[in-house]
């Protein structure tokens, strides 16, 4: 009972300290509002303003029409270059796509042959190259078909494939990105807040003051866990309801209670990680260097930026031990696909389990570090 009270009072002190740190409060506020909005609506992997050039060796009406079929915003106004310039211009990174229309292209088509079109793709521009190449092809095919339709009978494909996107019918990328952005901010800020709370207390000598009082290391650490976790939880809730659901109009298919339960489990892990990093680094500067390495790894390997199944197999097994991966995964299930506890229990178990093991380890380390503080 006294232990619970201690944790409660220490936690309140923690909140008060945090609130008096204006820079940190502003940073948390920014990270969970504007930063998320910008990340969700900013750069997209969509093809936009792609650079394209044509080598027109046909000089026919059709080839002219094809060149005119590409225009902003998706493509830049195409340049026309000579065949000899292809290699140089692509080496210099001037164009992502160069389309070569061969001589006698139009007449071959009219004669019932299927002439070749060469499409040069700068395959080092991964994000846009593949989707962009598909656009180039479908735009070209449409035009060719329209052009021939004027003379030929209307043709119809024997089987049509209708692609329907579930869970995000308009493929609005801000839906996905906003949630990944929240997840990334939760990881970063929980670690920063908790770790900084440990280091600040040590650098200001207040930790020593706490230690001479009838308090245990466990109480001191748990107070930091709940206070900082609570701040992040509130910020997350505000961000989800105000920014994601209201401003960005992202629907929430599943149960809010379920998702926030998952967030709680994850916060447990992230605060434990913050205490761990705060304990092993001797100064704020070392803490800052460590954070960069840890947070980048946690975020990149979580599956938020690259789907986990695209990574090499051994890495996929490794990421199974990253709670951030399970967090991204169960968030998708709950928020977009409307899955229930049956669909996410394993992920919950993993996050909770890893969090618990890590918390116990961090506690042991924290207690030890206090014992040898000179």
């Amino acid at each position: 009972m006294t232990s619970l009270l201690n944790i409660w009072w220490l936690g309140l002190k923690e909140l008060r300290s945090l609130l008096s740190d204006v820079v940190m409060v502003l940073f948390v506020g920014y990270a969970f509002s504007l930063a998320i909005y910008v990340q969700a609506t900013g750069t997209s992997s969509e093809v936009n303003n792609a650079s394209i050039a044509f080598v027109d060796e046909d000089h026919s009406a059709l080839s002219k029409e094809l060149i005119n079929a590409f225009y902003p915003p998706r493509f830049q106004i195409p340049h026309t270059i000579a065949a000899s310039q292809i290699q140089d211009s692509m080496d210099n990174g001037l164009f992502m796509f160069v389309v070569t229309i061969p001589p006698r292209f139009e007449s071959d088509l009219r004669a019932g042959r299927n002439p070749d079109i060469q499409l040069n793709i700068d395959a080092t521009a991964m994000q846009q190259a593949s989707i962009g190449a598909n656009y180039v092809k479908s735009i070209t095919n449409d035009r060719v078909e329209n052009f021939l339709r004027r003379t030929d009978a209307k043709t119809r494909p024997p089987i049509k494939l209708v692609v329907r996107k579930l869970f995000n019918p308009n493929a609005d990328s801000s839906w996905y990105k906003s949630v990944v952005a929240i997840i990334n901010q939760i990881t970063l800020l929980t670690i920063v807040l908790t770790g900084a709370a440990v280091i600040r207390e040590r650098e200001h000598g207040t930790l020593e003051h706490l230690l001479v009082m009838p308090l245990t290391a466990f109480e001191i650490a748990v107070a930091k866990v709940w206070a900082n976790g609570l701040v992040i939880l509130i910020a997350t809730a505000a961000s989800l309801f105000l920014v994601v659901q209201m401003a960005l109009k992202v629907p929430f298919a599943g149960s809010h209670v379920l998702w926030f339960s998952g967030v709680l489990l994850y916060l447990f892990f992230a605060t434990a990680l913050g205490i761990f990093l705060g304990t092993i680094s001797r100064s704020m500067a070392q803490f800052a260097l460590l954070i960069i390495l840890v947070v980048v790894s946690l975020q990149l390997l979580s599956g938020g930026s690259t789907p986990v199944e695209s990574m090499p197999n051994w890495l996929q097994y490794l990421t199974f031990f990253l709670p951030s991966r399970h967090f991204v995964s169960f968030s998708q299930v709950i928020i977009y696909r409307g899955g229930g506890l049956r669909a996410v229990w394993l992920q919950f178990l993993m996050v909770g389990g890893i969090g618990l093991v890590f918390f116990i380890y961090s506690m042991a380390l924290f207690r030890k570090s206090i014992a040898v503080t000179k």
């Binding site: 002190k13 992502m96 991964m126 260097l289 390495l293 930026s305 696909r337 000179k374």
Partner: protein, 932 residues
């Protein structure tokens, strides 16, 4: 010394001033540190600036040394205005400045010898005379045997000696020492002053200006400036000042000089004697020993303290006082020995023991961000004092300690004296039986110190609280009932202070302490049968042999080059001995290469899908079989039997697509009605959903064109056939584009952070003062610090390139030589970015985060990592065009994947080359040669 002192009073007025201060005022934000000071300091004397902490002594000394920028007023030093850059450049080799703080301007990772040698390099001693000069000084100060020890592993007194060697290496005419003996043990202090006297005897023209908070020290000096609250209270020889105020020592004299409202009706502290008769033993320790690894912090301490006694612990920084206290209170388990409190054994960490203890830690350790009241209330709660009682108790303490008017002020905003009283209030809030105070009064002015002691006396005599206090002020030691003198982990003597003095036949406690220390050292020496440190008499003999050698002046260019190399060597040694930064430099970048290389991929493969066949006709089966045949993209899983099951499996992320064939598909196909197939794609991750949809369409279209499978009917369609040419990356795997891009990101992030930290770290730790007060130019400083990081970054580049080739299997198809050249220019530019950021950041944390944001954002968004630069628009395009990474990215991807020859990278080389002088110029412009 004595001869000098006798001359001074007469001479002081007639001597030409070495420093002349006129109307100097200095502010830090709203705080006024110096308030219109005007003062002439006579030359050739030992001048003391005395006053408690925070009265502006350090600011004044830094202004005289030219290390701080003048705000208002004028200071003439050695015949010219020190605010004038030209004059500063001329006289700076004649001034030596040792800032406050033990070893503040030393490089803790460097050895003693290297530290002094570094200063010799900066002051332009020729390579031939440096080693002799450094050796000479080290021998003279008794540091000879410790030449190879890192400065960080020295005791406080020795650090100060190293600092002094560094200051004397160029034979200055004006020596400025800011609190050189604070926190140093009495023997080292005595040795230090003997050393200064000897040096002055050898160079009588040298002026020495020293600040101190120990009044008794200043008593022996030639001329005194007493300061308080940014003003000069009085100047003159100690004898004159004492005569004027009618006092017998300088401390009392200082109090008498204070303005009336400051004295607050100060009366001399009288400590009533303890009631006679034996009382119960409160603290009892037997043979306490504590070792940290091989280092023995506390060695066989035995003592017992009675209830109500004021027991003092005297010793220098790091002598084991705090460790002993922690063992007595059960905070730290002893390696050997036992400690009992009121007869009960102290179990390490026992909660019960802590309730009977009050503890006031060294330095201020309350929450500065909470108010006075909040701090008190928090402690009351943590000790579980019932709210009613707590309220009454807090009120009582607030009245008694005079905190009433400050209840709602933040603890951080209180003046020193009040903060100490608040700390004491917090420590006694729960009415402890034993009160432990770790250096409670350092940095507090004499008046506040006395009023603090009044509270202690009251607690001891009236309430029977046992008080255990550590201090390095001898005057405070005299006030204790008993004291124990501690040095190097051992208790040298323990008794009533007066008895200790009598036992040694000494004049005061300090002399008695020194006597005990010399005995201990002699004893230890006898045991070891060899002397490691020279005795003071030898020092003086050696010091006189420090001969002023004529400066041979090498040419300007040579000097500059030598200073650049001095900084390069210094920085290299530092980083080699800092495991965290070293690990970040090499392990960090290798780790990030792995994470980025494997973690970022845009390849979408092995998409799990399930068929949902509602038709079960020949045609539907053919269609599904054909679809299943495209193994590269799709992986077939068990078909679903109902729409519900399909949705559930999509929800659980078991599959990413359901391929649904409607009823009557076969019949409609045969009729030529163009039936539809529905692909339900998981669109939660939009990029992936998009790609899956396109792959499905691709497979579908290919099937329809293949005449072999019978899925074609009707007239043949004429269309263009695309011949895709995936240039540079025929298999179109993202690894070939990501892996060469990652070094471009890492070689800006890591070098820039390391560079920024290396400069800001010097600002934070204080060693940047060496740059302020030596003739080092800005370009020399920056270039010297940059070179090691360019080296580290190049090694990093080779590691990353090797990883790309051997681990990721991405071969280098283009010119590696040219890429190496580009890398050299690139890392010079990126360390330059770190340099530029360091000019406007003042803490290492800010430097790390700002550098990370400033480098990562444009690199990821605008340099072609995600989006080709050719597709950027507006401002993004402009940023992309001037950001160095854009060019290096082109070179790196070009050399690895595109197979570009040297000729095609020339424009990258030219641009990267142009960045470097621009960044240098901006950094030089931003780097200040003086502290603000």
């Amino acid at each position: 010394m004595s001869t000098l002192a006798s001359q001074t009073s007469a001479v002081a007025i007639t001597r030409k001033p070495v420093v002349s201060i006129q109307g100097v005022t200095h502010h830090y934000g709203a705080t006024r540190a110096l308030d219109g000071i005007s003062l002439d300091i006579p030359s050739g004397l030992m001048v003391g600036i005395v006053g408690p902490d925070g009265v502006g002594k350090s600011t004044l000394m830094a202004l005289i040394a030219g290390s701080k920028k003048m705000q208002l007023g004028r200071v003439n030093v050695l015949g010219g205005d020190i605010g004038d850059v030209r004059h500063r450049r001329v006289v700076c080799p004649q001034i030596a400045y040792m800032p406050q703080g033990l070893g503040k301007n030393l490089y803790l990772e460097l050895s003693v010898y290297d530290n002094v040698y570094f200063m010799a390099q900066l002051f332009g001693l020729s390579p031939a005379e440096r080693p002799t000069k450094v050796r000479e000084l080290l021998e003279a100060t008794g540091l000879g045997p410790f030449a190879d020890r890192p400065a960080g592993k020295l005791s406080g007194g020795m650090k100060q000696k190293v600092g002094l060697c560094g200051a004397l290496v160029h034979e200055p005419d004006l020596l400025i020492l800011d609190e050189p003996t604070t926190g140093v043990d009495p023997l080292s202090r005595q040795q230090f002053w003997t050393l200064i006297d000897d040096i002055r005897a050898g160079r009588p023209s040298m002026s020495v200006v020293i600040s101190t908070a120990y009044m008794d020290e200043a008593q022996k000096w030639d001329w005194i400036v007493a300061m308080d609250a940014g003003r000069v209270l009085a100047t003159g020889t100690p004898a004159e000042l004492m005569e004027r105020t009618g006092t017998s020592d300088l401390e009392k004299c200082f109090i008498a000089l204070l303005p009336e409202e400051k004295r607050m009706g100060h009366t001399e502290l009288i400590i009533p004697p303890r009631p006679a008769g034996k009382s119960e033993i409160a603290i009892d320790a037997k043979g306490l020993t504590r070792r940290f690894g091989s280092f023995t912090a506390v060695d066989q301490v035995t003592l017992s303290i009675e209830r109500g006694e004021i027991f003092g612990f005297l010793g220098s920084n790091g002598c084991g006082k705090s460790t002993t206290m922690k063992m007595l209170t059960g905070l730290l388990p002893p390696t050997e020995g036992t400690a009992t409190l009121f007869g009960q054994s102290v179990e390490a960490g026992s909660i019960e023991v802590r309730k009977r203890l009050g503890y006031m830690t060294q330095a201020f350790s309350l929450y500065g961000e909470l108010t006075v009241r909040q701090n008190l209330v928090l402690d009351a709660r943590l000790y579980h004092i019932p709210p009613e009682k707590a309220k009454a108790r807090i009120q009582e303490l607030v009245d008694k300690f005079g905190l009433g008017t400050h209840l709602d002020a933040l603890a951080a905003d209180l003046p020193m004296g009040l903060r100490q009283r608040l700390s004491l209030a917090v420590a006694v809030l729960h009415e402890p039986e034993i009160l432990i105070l770790d250096e409670p009064t350092s940095g507090v002015d004499p008046v506040a110190r006395d009023s603090f002691w009044e509270l202690l006396v009251d607690l001891s005599r009236k309430q029977g609280v046992t008080i255990f206090v550590t201090t390095h002020f001898m005057g405070e030691g005299m006030r204790c009932d008993r004291i124990s003198l501690m040095h190097a982990g051992r208790v040298l003597a323990c008794d009533d202070p007066q008895k200790l003095i009598e036992a040694r036949g000494a004049t005061n406690l300090e002399d008695a302490f020194i006597g005990y220390m010399e005995d201990a050292i002699a004893e230890a020496a006898l045991k070891k049968d060899q002397t490691k440190e020279k005795s003071p008499s030898n020092i003086s003999a050696a010091a006189t042999t420090v001969s002023p050698s004529p400066h041979s002046t090498p040419s300007g260019l040579q000097l500059r080059l030598s200073r650049i190399l001095a900084y390069t060597r210094n920085e290299t040694v530092q980083i080699m001995r800092d495991p965290v930064r070293l690990a970040f430099a090499f392990v960090g970048s290798a780790l990030m290469m792995l994470v980025f290389g494997f973690g970022i991929t845009t390849d979408v493969e092995h998409i799990r899908y399930a068929a949902f066949d509602l038709d079960q006709s020949l045609e539907s089966r053919t269609y599904l079989e054909e679809f299943a045949g495209s193994k590269r993209y799709f992986t077939t899983t068990a078909p679903v039997r109902s729409a519900d099951e399909g949705l559930r499996r999509l929800q659980a992320d078991d599959i990413s697509m359901v391929l649904e064939i409607p009823p009557n598909f076969g019949r409609n196909f045969r009729k030529g009605a163009g039936p539809e197939v529905l692909a339900q794609v998981d669109g939660a991750n939009t990029f992936r959903g998009e790609t899956v949809g396109q792959y499905a369409e691709g497979v579908h279209n290919r099937m329809l064109k293949d005449p072999a499978n019978g899925l074609q009917i009707g007239p043949k369609r004429y269309t263009a056939v695309f011949q895709d040419r995936y240039m540079y990356n025929p298999t179109f795997q993202s690894i070939y584009s990501i892996v060469p891009s990652v070094p471009a990101l890492l070689l800006i992030l890591i070098p820039a952070i390391l560079m920024a930290v290396s400069i800001v770290r010097e600002k934070e730790l204080g060693s940047i003062i060496n740059f302020y007060v030596t003739p080092t130019g800005r370009m020399e400083y920056l270039l010297g610090k940059q070179l090691p990081y360019i080296g580290i970054s190049m090694i990093n580049f080779f590691i990353l390139a090797a990883m790309a080739v051997f681990l990721f299997g991405v071969p280098i198809k283009g010119s590696f030589m040219m890429l190496t050249l580009c890398t050299l220019l690139y890392v010079t530019a990126t360390t330059g970015i770190g340099m530029l950021i360091s000019t406007f950041t003042s803490s290492q944390v800010a430097a790390v985060f700002i550098t990370a944001i400033v480098t990562i954002v444009p690199t990821i968004q605008f340099s072609g990592l995600l989006q080709p630069v050719s597709t950027l628009e507006g401002n993004a395009r402009i940023v992309g065009m001037i950001w160095p990474t854009t060019y290096y990215m082109h070179a790196s991807v070009g050399a690895f994947t595109k197979g570009l020859g040297a000729g095609l990278m020339v424009q990258d080389v030219i641009f990267l080359g142009c960045c470097i002088p621009v960044l240098w110029a901006l950094s030089i412009f931003g780097l200040k040669k003086q502290e603000k």
